[in-house]
Amino acid sequence: MHPVTPPTAGSPAGPSFRTLAAPRRRILRGVVAAVVAAPLMFGAAACGDDGAAPGDGKVTLSIFWWGGEGRAKLTEDALALYTKKNPNVTFEKTFQANQGYFDKLATLTAGGNPPDIFQIDDNYLAEYAGRSTVLDLTSYKDSGKLDVSKFPKSLLEYGIVDGKLAGVAAGENTQGLVYNKTLLTKHGLPEPTTGMSWEEHIAWAEQVTKKTKVPGTQDPSADYKALWVWLRQQGKDLYKGKDLGFDEADVTRWFELWKGARDRGATPTPDVIHEGNSSDITKQLVVTGKSATSWVWVNQMPDLKKNTSDDLGVVAYPGDPSAQWARASMYWSVFKGSKNRDAAVDVINFLANDPEAVALLGTDRGLPSNMDLRAKVSETVTDPAMKQSIAVETELAATFGPSPQVPIKGHSKVKSELVKAAENAQYGRATPAEAAKQFLAACKSAIA
């Protein structure tokens, strides 16, 4: 049979093919050139727009955050209020679940199309600030356009990276140990209290396991925030300057502490611990009924409560509570290349300091950063779980220690390496010392 017929089928074959080849190649070259050039031209045109100020004073700000429907509703209401007061400013709002949020934000940034205003947390703040993606808000703070005078000092400082104010706390939270009150009451067991030592906590958890058949406490050895508090209680820290604030011996002791707890039956089996190591709130063991406690953030209480019919309580992590600090649960940051920086900063200022806006937002992103307004919001809150988390955090605020530095570049990898090392120890695939050694080696290459 014949091979596939060439496109010039109808024409006689022979010498003419040779003469044809040239123009065809030229066309191909032209097409390739056009295709290559097109994005460049469009790109250039788009760049040209950047400098031009909008003539009619109308400003559209893009804003991007993670969270659920509830948060979206609150945020949209607050932004609508801003537009009502500043009719020339409108918003392009985008939100999505936490999983994949930072992938999207990074991709938008890479595509040269990042949002003017975006939500970010301490896991990524240093990554973004260190690469000059984020606008330094110091000058706005100094000129008073961004009012942070009512913020707790440590909360403000927790937004400073390398001397630059990279983010404004959208809310405050701190570590919280959430426990299943219903279960404890049913079995006549005491509730955990703030200030219990780690040993006391583990002994308590062992009792809970024995009496209730529900493992007493989720093993938090894979949880960076628990390790962090524990390190601060030992006079260490997670980071120190551009380096780690702890050594192999510290981590070994941490892993051994929890190996002991597992051996005593205070914790669930490794596969259940692994389930609870997910950051997903619906998988926390205290709401799935697979453990009597979960190690979370205080402001996650209301969300946890939505996933269980049991009563929940919350206290500080074990040990000296002054190791905990006023942590920015998340920040609002402004993209450095935004054409409307001033307007964007004004929106952030509004979200933090406008009494109506703060009342609308409530404690969804943590306790309001503005202390005056926090007091007002606390009075009006009706949700019992939210009330409880505010009460506990206000109580802890009295003993808060100074803020640590914002986690450094490479932190997300340090976090995932901790999970890996801790799980290796949990599944019995490594001794605490081996796991600690593996973790330290991985950390060093992560932050290098």
Partner: protein, 325 residues
């Protein structure tokens, strides 16, 4: 134009054509060529914009320290540093290679065996065979779907459906997906279970085997097994080859199920850290896109090599019925 004339056959026409008309034909053909490219342009622009240019860019990025957030113009050339790190300084890279090889070496042959076995069964003229073909094909329609992976995770939990089934026989199951020793095997099972696509292709191949061959074989005294080895398998070898190449590439690229099962971490303890997942984590979680690009290029080259090996060994075992190879 001589559109009706079969090209290249009629010698006299070639020489008989006057020069002028040949030029005219050239102009027309020129127009046709242009029209061809115009009609091709959606595909061509897509190929260039979505595939070729980004691919070349990623090749360039693999020699840089690109981290997504830094503008491309400020990216620094680091030479072979990414490749060096991959091969010498990143143990989790080699771990991912091992996981992926294990996955492909076990899951692909088993999947093809399952597909062929079921295709042989369904190649008979039973009542309701169409229904069974549909049912067996169904899982692969759901393909790399996220929903399916979620179902899988819930089935193979400590308190999942599979363990409830084992409990009937008094067997206490393991926490399959949450057990570092078994998580990858659970993923393999998911991949094998989705054997529908190769099965349909095998079925089509089986229908092509001329029945005379079987008749001739049985006249010569060949039994069922012997017929399978000496008639079915050789006649089917082009289809086996096709499925093997496609499924191997698919196997190496497995991502969705591992991602969903481990919440994007490759856990528990990196047991499901497939190559593509490692690449994704490096690029998007750790923001090391230059490094991830280097991994992607090594991956591309390795898959190309494996495919080349298949094609070059194919001539020893793939038989085409028309005698060509």
């Amino acid at each position: 134009m001589a559109l009706t004339t079969a090209p290249g056959r009629t010698g006299p026409t070639r020489s008989a054509r006057p020069h002028a008309s040949r030029r005219g034909a050239g102009r027309d053909r020129h127009g046709e060529g242009l029209a061809g490219y115009v009609f091709l342009s959606p595909w061509l622009i897509g190929l260039m914009g979505v595939t070729a240019i980004p691919m070349l860019l990623s090749l360039y990025l693999s020699f840089t320290n690109y981290d997504i957030l830094t503008p491309l113009s400020e990216v620094q050339w680091v030479g072979l540093a990414n490749y060096e790190r991959m091969f010498t300084a990143d143990p989790s890279y080699w771990h991912a290679v091992r996981v992926t090889l294990t996955f492909a070496l076990v899951a692909v042959p088993l999947k093809l065996a399952a597909a062929l076995g079921v295709a042989l069964l369904l190649n008979r003229a039973w009542r309701g065979v169409g229904l069974f073909r549909g049912l067996f094909y169904l899982p692969s329609l759901l393909g790399g779907s996220v929903a399916l992976a979620i179902v899988w995770v819930n089935m193979f939990n400590r308190d999942g459906a599979f363990n409830s089934f084992l409990a009937i026989f008094g067997i206490e199951g393991l926490p399959w997906v949450n057990d570092p020793e078994w998580a990858l095997e659970t993923l393999m099972l998911l991949a094998i279970w989705q054997f529908g696509a190769p099965m349909v292709i095998f079925l089509a191949g089986l229908k092509q085997v001329p029945s005379e061959l079987y008749e001739a074989a049985s006249v010569d005294g060949a039994g069922r097994v012997s017929q399978f080895w000496h008639v079915t398998l050789p006649m089917l070898s082009p289809v086996i080859f096709f499925n093997l190449v496609l499924e191997t590439i698919n196997g190496f690229q497995g991502f969705t199920a591992a991602f969903v099962l481990s919440n994007g971490t490759g856990g528990p303890v990196d047991s499901t850290l497939m190559y593509t997942l490692k690449l994704y984590i490096s690029g998007f979680t750790d923001l090391e896109m230059g490094y991830a690009s280097a991994m992607a290029w090594v991956f591309l080259i390795v898959i190309a090599l494996i495919t080349t090996v298949f094609f070059s060994t194919g001539r020893f075992w793939v038989h085409y019925s028309d005698g060509e190879r």
